[in-house]
């Protein structure tokens, strides 16, 4: 068996990214869409870690970015859930297709 290389990890993260995009575009539930966004962010995190380990092993920039993104993701989730709660209060629904009043 070969050692697990950069390519394998990039495959994982790419797959995770497109699963997230697919979920974001197809799910109608806002909470699920939020979860799909988390998947996309995590695929980015994996990329950062992998490049840091395989290309610049002596540096820590990738790690820092990852921690930073996790923090941002937490904040983003808080804001998104607040928006969703408000949408639910006004529309009695968290279906994304019901929130379409902002058009032409």
């Amino acid at each position: 068996m070969n050692e697990i290389g950069l390519t394998h990890i990039l495959f994982i993260s790419t797959a995770l990214f497109f699963i997230g995009v697919y979920g974001f575009l197809t799910r109608k539930n806002l909470i699920t869409m939020l979860m799909a966004i988390e998947l996309i962010l995590n695929s980015v995190n994996i990329n950062f870690i992998a490049f840091n380990k395989y290309l610049y092993a002596d540096k820590l920039d990738g790690l820092f970015f990852t921690i930073f993104i996790i923090t941002i993701a937490a904040a983003e989730a808080a804001v998104a859930i607040a928006i969703i709660i408000h949408l639910y209060r006004s529309l009695k629904s968290i279906d994304v297709d019901d929130a379409d009043i902002m058009k032409f």
Binding site: L25, V96, D100, M102, F104
Partner: protein
């Protein structure tokens, strides 16, 4: 020396009164505004009389010549070092004479209107408009600058428009005011072009410089005479166009059609604006530029003379057939203004040759007095009878003795019976015609005879003819007009008797020098006899109710009808404007505007709308659609990036 401050007060008092009454009077003191306007005018009149006294007897004359004095000058718009529009006050014999006439007649009309307009709901508005008119007219006659006169010229036009249309509930009054405004606007277009032509060639707008440059030999004069257009020199064109403006304001042929309709306004307004002051503005304008007309361009002066005599005769013939008493007076006004015009037209400039100029100004002076009196008298009659038609009147002499006597005096004055005012001024005019042009003299004598005839036809129809049929009880308590209306009648009647004795040849002459007029008994006797004969004819036909006038009308059937219909001028003009101009110019222009210009704009709008309609479905409002566009766009950029750089 004259103090310019109080001269400036003469035009300023009416405008201040206009502002006060117009802004506050209508709401807070409507009843008092008549008295306020009258008092302000009284002060202005006293000041004018004082200025006139000072000018004519104390400071105006230097070595026996009346000077043109610029009492005040304020540069309003400076275009270049040489060309500026000024606002100023020019005093010379004609302007001083005019301010006295304007303030005096306006004062009389103000007093008269307190009775005539009593109980009118828009009483204060009426007085505000009267003040505005008085201000404009005073500004017009005092102008130092040809552009200043144009500004005030338009202002009197506006005041006249407002006052003709004063009874705006009446469609005929609205139509009349529009007609007056539009017809005079046409003429004023000519006036404006004339101003531009004259000022372009003389390089100035100032009257004195303009006259000086265009009457003395030099480069200015030779330039304007040598440049020609359609066979006439630029000077002739300029003067004729300026005269066209004057003809519009003074209701000369072919712009005369508005004056009879202008009688829709309140009668005192007709007396002030359409008889005594505004309509003589054209005469005043020609008199103001008279040195140029007379010394540099006699051809234009001939046009003035022929237009004047033609309008005069035409109006006199029409006046003989009209039945609305105000219209008779309107045509009579037009006829008398024609007298003033052709008197200017046949006049020379120096010394006794200037008798026509002097006669014209003299006639302007006397005419404004007796014509105002005639209108005010007619107003009193209309006030009593509540009708303008002759057939509703008759036999009023016992019911309205004072109106009757004053009206008779005015009729004698306009007919030219000695020793009343009109006799003297008309005599000077006829003398001037006799000296220069025998054809005009003949027509003028004929017109004078017709004047006597139609005035006495009017007089006998109103005050004699049949017995007045009283209808109901209202006549018992309402005989003679109230005192505020009788007072102006009496003052004006007194002046109509004595105004002829003013020695005009000593005061108002073309060149400022006095000359002596001789009184030729043999010359005067012909026109007076003719006028007397015309009066007797009118007496014979109209003093008693008879069938004679109808028989006369029947025997000249077609001519009578033509004259009664005012020689179809209104119909001809309507035909030209409605059928020819509207169809040949108006409708194609409207078509081009509607289909080509509007069509182009509509095309742009509909293309924009189509594009917007087709792209607006992108804005679905659904988050996931936007996400798809976003991802697709990013993907597109990525592919583009790969294609270009890798």
């Amino acid at each position: 020396m004259l103090n310019s401050n109080y001269i400036a007060l003469i035009p300023l008092l009416p405008i201040i009164t206009f502002l006060i009454i117009g802004l506050f009077g209508r709401r807070y003191f409507p009843k008092f505004s008549g008295i306020l306007g009258t008092l302000s005018l009284l002060v202005a009149f006293v000041l004018s009389a004082f200025v006139a006294y000072q000018y004519f007897f104390e400071v105006g004359k230097v070595y026996g010549v009346y000077q043109k004095i610029i009492a005040m000058k304020y540069v309003w718009l400076q275009f270049s070092p040489n060309v500026a529009i000024d606002m100023g006050i020019l005093l010379d014999p004609i302007s001083v004479m005019m301010i006295v006439i304007v303030t005096f007649i306006s004062l009389m009309v103000h007093i008269y209107s307190m009775g005539y307009m009593h109980g009118e709901p828009r009483y204060a508005t009426y007085y505000a408009f009267l003040s505005l008119f008085t201000f404009s007219m005073l500004g017009l006659v005092l102008s130092t600058n040809i552009f200043q006169i144009y500004i005030f010229w338009e202002l009197v036009g506006v005041s006249s428009f407002l006052l003709i249309g004063f009874y705006y509930e009446k469609p005929s009054a609205v139509a009349a005011s529009k007609k007056a405004f539009i017809v005079t606007r046409f003429a004023d277009l000519g006036f404006l072009i004339g101003i531009l032509v004259l000022s372009y060639f003389s390089g100035t707008l100032d009257f004195q410089t303009l006259i000086q440059r265009l009457t003395t030999e030099g480069s200015y004069l030779s330039n304007i005479v040598s440049s020609s257009f359609l066979g006439a020199s630029a000077l002739t064109w300029g003067l004729l166009l300026v005269f066209a403006g004057g003809a519009g304001k003074s209701a000369m042929f072919p712009f005369h059609i508005w004056l009879p309709d202008a009688m829709e306004g309140p009668t005192p307004v007709s007396a002030l604006i359409h008889a005594a002051t505004m309509v003589v503005a054209g005469v005043y304008l020609v008199a103001r530029l008279f040195p140029i007309f007379s010394n540099s361009c006699p051809g234009a002066l001939d046009v003035v003379a022929y237009i004047g005599i033609f309008s005069s005769l035409l109006a006199a013939i029409i006046a003989c057939t009209q039945t609305d008493i105000k219209r008779v007076l309107a045509y009579s006004t037009m006829s008398q203004i024609g007298f003033m015009m052709f008197a200017l037209g046949v006049s020379g400039f120096y010394g006794e040759e200037g008798v026509g100029f002097m006669g014209s100004m003299f006639h302007l002076f006397t005419h404004s007095i007796f014509k105002a009196l005639l209108f005010l008298g007619a107003g009193a009659v209309i006030h009593y009878v509540h009708s303008n038609e002759m057939k509703d009147m008759g036999g009023l002499r016992k019911l309205m003795p004072i109106t009757h006597i004053t009206f008779l005096l005015a009729c004698l004055a306009i007919a030219g019976i000695p020793p009343f005012a009109g006799f003297f001024s008309k005599e000077e005019i006829l003398l001037a015609c006799w000296n220069s042009n025998k054809i005009i003299f003949g027509a003028a004598v004929l017109t004078a005879g017709l004047t006597a005839f139609y005035m006495f036809r009017l007089y006998f129809s109103i005050f004699w003819n049949k017995e007045y049929k009283t209808h109901g009880s209202h006549d018992d308590h309402h005989g003679e007009a109230p005192g505020s209306m009788l007072l102006p009648l009496i003052i004006l009647a007194g002046l109509s008797v004595v105004a002829g004795f003013v020695p005009f040849s000593h005061l108002v002459t073309a060149d400022g020098l006095r000359f002596e007029t001789e009184f030729h008994l043999g010359f005067a006797i012909g026109p007076v006899l003719l006028a007397t004969a015309a009066i007797f004819l009118a007496w014979y036909m109209y003093a008693k109710e008879s069938l004679l006038p109808q028989k006369m009308a029947d025997s000249f059937k077609s001519f009578y009808t033509a004259a009664y219909r005012k020689f179809y001028f209104d119909e001809i003009y309507l035909f030209i404007t409605k059928k020819i101009i509207f169809n040949l110019i108006g409708r194609p222009a409207a078509w081009i505007d509607k289909n080509i210009f509007d069509g182009f704009m509509n095309l742009i709008a509909s293309v924009t709308e189509f594009v917007s309609e087709s792209v607006k479905s992108f804005q679905s409002g659904k988050v996931q659609d936007y996400a798809i566009y976003f991802f697709a766009g990013t993907l597109g950029f990525v592919l583009l990036f790969i294609y270009l750089w890798i």
